[in-house]
Symmetry: C2
Subunit: 234 residues, 2 copies
DNA sequence: TGCATTTTATTTGTCGACAGAATTTCGACC
DNA sequence: GGTCGAAATTCTGTCGACAAATAAAATGCA
């Protein structure tokens, strides 16, 4: 269960503790290794990471600030739940952020941005080719994060990153139980999106981003509408 | 300088410490009582609030997560600077959020929301009548926060709140040195906005919110373009 | 006098410990 | 046997202290 206790690791740079815990916990939450709603024991984490509760708590506070963990006073912190009932607010927001960041990227990107964006797209295409669902979700996030970055509006970038992370959890919920393939379309849509950005065609970027978001929303909706009942003979 | 040390206050509920420090520091940062770029000494705050450094640190981590303080490793935390050069990203984002949240409020508001919104509007009008610039900025924030809340999209609400807070700092920068009056227009625009929301007229809400945002942006730009040189005889 | 280097001092990051709250366990009573 | 209440346990919130790292001061040298 705990494999981190074997390595003798009294060596740790001052100030790196929080970062390690934060990133590790964050990944585990987004990958659903820590399932939504599960309680988080500070002492347990402290022994697991071989450090005091102080840096653990600081990491938890940060994660709470990003909405990934929920804390109740004098009670254990919990991994934030995925609010399936209000998913439409997520659809709405991610669509708008896709559109806005792509528009701004077309407007303000610099040559170096395109290099970064294309590198992420290559990784995404590789993940699709390898049928690696987890890598697809992760590289898709990185690609859109790079596009948002190229738009150079930190407020939009911030919200986009949060939405992408939330989406990573939702998609993970999906790919956990199901492994079909259709994301080849996404590769092509990404290519078209990058072309539009490179051409600085704002309206075309907007249209493609909008269609891309719709595509993803439909994908998630199809997943959620899936009827998982099995025909059992009675 | 420190007037909080006089009151004998060993009485403090468990778990309230962080909240007190967080809200106090937050207000002081937004009101520019703590000027942007000024260093934050944890020990000093600890004695001032009569508590240990632990809750202070936790409050600072939270504020850092909201972008109100910047922390460098092994160095003092600083009150976040106001990036005047990239103000256009702020204009862009606040305009979009005004539009989106007002649209959603027109669509999804419930009767109780209108009561809350109108109450905030009344307070805003009172602040304008009283020529209380600080109260105007504060109540304006509360009003738009209530509208965002009525739209029921937590992602938009989150970004809107952050933008409103950032705007509070920017406007505070203005009203600090200058006290003129023109916000009577804002009162009327707010009234029109609330009417459109109550009528569930999405397009009209959008138009008014857009115009309102433009108005505020122009106001800030006029402030920043102000020539503060004084004609000194040489 | 000016600059580089060592020494001092201040400040953060982390630790272990204690007390308050809440949950759980155990026991008594109906 | 079930339910209510009390003791015990567990976990969080806060504290004071120590050590690393940086900033400041002091010293030596050219």
């Amino acid at each position: 269960m705990s494999d981190a206790s074997e390595s003798g690791i009294p060596e740790r740079k001052r100030g790196s503790g929080v970062k390690v815990v934060y990133e590790m916990l964050r990944d585990e939450i987004l990958d659903l290794k820590l399932p939504p709603g599960s309680p988080i024991d500070e002492v347990q984490l402290a022994e697991r990471f071989g450090m005091s509760r102080t840096p653990i708590r600081e990491a938890l506070v940060r994660l709470a600030g990003e909405g990934l963990v929920e804390t109740l006073p004098n009670r254990s912190a919990m991994v934030a739940n995925i609010d399936v009932l209000n998913l439409h607010t997520f659809y709405d927001a991610i669509t708008l952020m896709y559109r806005v960041t792509t528009r701004l990227a077309a407007q303000y990107h610099r040559p170096a941005d395109l290099v970064t964006i294309r590198a992420h797209q290559a990784k995404y295409a590789a993940a699709v080719a390898a049928q690696d669902a987890l890598a697809m979700v992760s590289t898709n996030r990185d690609l859109h994060a790079a596009i948002a970055e190229a738009g150079r509006n930190p407020y939009y970038t911030w919200l986009t990153l949060r939405l992408l992370d939330e989406g990573r959890r939702i998609l993970r919920l999906y790919y956990q139980s199901f492994d079909d393939r259709l994301p080849q379309e996404y590769v092509e849509e990404h290519e078209a999106m990058i072309d539009a950005i490179a051409a600085r065609d704002i309206e075309r970027s907007d249209r493609i981003a909008s269609a891309h978001a719709d595509q993803i929303v439909r994908q998630i909706q199809k997943l959620l509408a899936r009827d998982e009942r099995q025909s059992v003979p009675l």
